[in-house]
């Protein structure tokens, strides 16, 4: 395989990047440095600005402020065709009137690569995404997964400095998504490109990325490795996005040695302090459903089961605490609906964040 990303262009740097749509700030001053060869995921709920950020990097949206640098070269005023990036769109955006070969070779022909050299690189691109046998078909004759691969091949054959991907798997079915995750990571490793991958699916981000950038309301909330984010979210909303489905508002009783005791749901629980809190202040306690276990110990949050379902190894259910908070929990044996249970949070997996000011 000789398709390889262009190297030596340096890191991509966003400095105070802003983008406004009317009075709405889609990006409210983003600072981010992406090293060469990194696989970065921009993660966040819809409307958080992650796609806007990607389009700004691609040059499809002008900035309202700030600058973008590639190495020591400022690129935010360049037209998209002058930036030399590759991009995979959510809708794939394959040219419907061109066959697979022509789609993949489009960028090459725009760059003036012709003849045998172009043919060789298109062949390599098709081999990379394993689509050699479909080369003469039109996009409309391909399945969603195949179209996706064509779009990836088209983006990488030009040997771009950076490959941008905008939720490329969101139109595929669950099984294909899992396959394509592995595939995309393999292609990234094979060609050694820098990849910026936009997604709203934290599983995708966790499994593929070297670093994850969690965004919300046009701002970066946390940047870190998948382990960082999964184990040590810095804010309650990041935790929420990382699978901490239980968010219990409460009042801090005591703080000591990085741990806090918080009164929630009619009882007190212990957890690791993530945002500075003081005794007497309001706080939010976050915990994943798998770390809130029914019947594991005698102490815990008393609740009444409202629903229970079997998910392979364990049972997962919802319950109402005495104060009406809805809780998501795990159980190792089945429990009946309306049964009274005690939900025990694992103290090392329970996080305490500063609560909203009352």
């Amino acid at each position: 395989m000789t398709i390889a990303a262009r190297h030596g262009v340096g890191a991509l740097e966003l400095r105070g990047v802003r983008r406004e749509f009317g009075s709405l700030a889609a990006l409210a001053g983003i600072d981010l440095r992406i090293e060469e060869g990194e696989f970065i995921a921009l993660l966040g709920p819809s409307g958080c600005g992650k796609s806007t950020a990607l389009n700004c990097i691609a040059g499809l949206l002008p900035l309202s402020g700030g600058s973008i640098w590639l190495g020591d070269r400022r690129i935010d005023r360049l037209k998209p065709e002058e930036r030399g990036f590759g991009m995979v769109f959510q809708s794939y955006a394959l040219f419907p009137h061109m066959n697979v070969r022509k789609n993949v070779g489009f960028g090459l022909s725009m760059k003036g690569v012709k003849g045998a050299e172009a043919a060789r690189r298109v062949d390599e691109g098709l081999a990379l995404v394993r689509l050699q046998s479909q080369a003469s078909k039109l996009p409309g004759q391909l399945s969603g997964g195949q179209q996706q691969r064509v779009a990836i091949a088209r983006a990488v054959v030009i040997e771009p400095a950076i490959v941008l991907m905008d939720e490329p798997l969101s139109n595929l079915d669950a099984k294909l998504r899992m396959e394509m995750r592995v595939e995309i990571r393999r292609i990234h490793d094979t060609i050694g490109s820098t990849t910026i991958y936009v997604t709203h699916d934290q599983d995708e981000a966790l499994s593929m990325a070297d670093r994850i950038v969690v965004m919300r309301d046009g701002m970066i909330r946390q940047v870190g490795t998948p382990e960082d984010l999964y184990e040590r979210p810095l804010h309650a909303d990041v935790a929420d996005f990382m699978g901490f489905r239980n968010r219990m508002p409460g009042q801090v009783r005591a703080v000591a040695n990085g741990r806090a005791e918080v009164a929630v749901c009619g009882t007190t629980v212990q957890g690791l302090v993530r945002e500075p809190v003081q005794a007497g202040a309001s706080a939010v306690v976050s915990i994943r459903p798998e770390d809130l276990v029914a019947g594991a110990s005698a102490s815990g949050i008393p609740a009444r089961v409202t629903a229970i379902e079997y998910r392979g190894r364990a049972f997962f259910g919802t319950a109402l605490a005495e104060d009406g908070t809805e809780l998501f929990f795990r159980a190792d044996r089945t429990v009946a609906k309306d049964e009274a249970v005690v939900l025990a949070p694992l103290p090392d997996r329970t996080l305490v964040f500063a609560g909203a000011p009352a």
């Binding site: 691609a58 040059g59 499809l60 037209k79 998209p80 065709e81 930036r83 030399g84 990036f85 590759g86 991009m87 769109f89 809708s91 794939y92 955006a93 394959l94 040219f95 419907p96 009137h97 489009f106 960028g107 725009m110 760059k111 039109l138 996009p139 409309g140 391909l142 399945s143 969603g144 179209q147 088209r154 983006a155 030009i158 941008l164 139109n171």
Partner: protein, 308 residues
Amino acid sequence: MSSVPLDGVAAAAGIEEALPLRIKLAARGLDGTTLLVLPAFLAIVALFVYPFLYGLWLSFQPKDGGAALSNYVRFFSDPFLYETIGTTLRIALPVTIVNLLLAVPIAMRVRLMRRQRILTTILVLPVTLGTVLVAEGLLNYLGPQGWFNRSLMWLGVIAGPVKLTNNYWGVVASLLITGFPFTFLLTLSYVTGIDPALEQAGAVHGASARSRFFRIVLPLILPGLAITFCLSFVQAFAVFPSAVLLGAPAGPTRVISIAAYQAAFEEYDYSLASAIAMIMGLVQFALVAAVLAGRRLLYRGPVAGTKG
């Protein structure tokens, strides 16, 4: 299943015959709803099919007797008559092509605008004015004492007034104005049908604005432009009021519809007029058929970049 049928085909046929007629018709797409087509069908027969066939029959019944084809022979042996085809084409083809060439870039721009409605309304306004009003207006505006000539003279571009009415250019100007909205609206609908992500994909992968248009947009709208061309051409080819009001109906803008009008209402030769109308129809049909045949060679699939 008490007995095994000896002949399965006959048995199957028997079952089919047992179905009520209503269900059999429905399977072929004929049901109660089909009856709703009837009024339109009758209207088409009364207003189009019958007059067409009557005209065709009439064109083979020369006024002065003689062979059935003598009207057609007369048309193609009299330069005063057959030259009207060339005259009309010389007006209709450039007008149609210029309108298309104007409509495409404007539609490309309007597609991106937020206040599309207002601009579209302004551009479409000439349609509501009617050919005669536009012709009258142009007579004044483009005339020797009109604003157009006076402005050019004031700017020193020309020394004396340029003759722009009662000749070829007057008719062309009028047809451009009345034909443009129609061409533009059709073109706009084709252009807006193209997924903007396709052009973005083109841009990111290195295509300049020019390449994006010629490599991505144009191939996708070309089949639509062919249809637009046909419809606009047929409209322009049937030019009559502006050729009379703004042109020189005795000479350079003696279009084919004027020849038919004169045959019918000055010579009272309805048979010849019918023959001319048939020839007019044939010329239009030949050109449209040629364009549509060319269109078959183009890509005509979906214009979105995904399976949807």
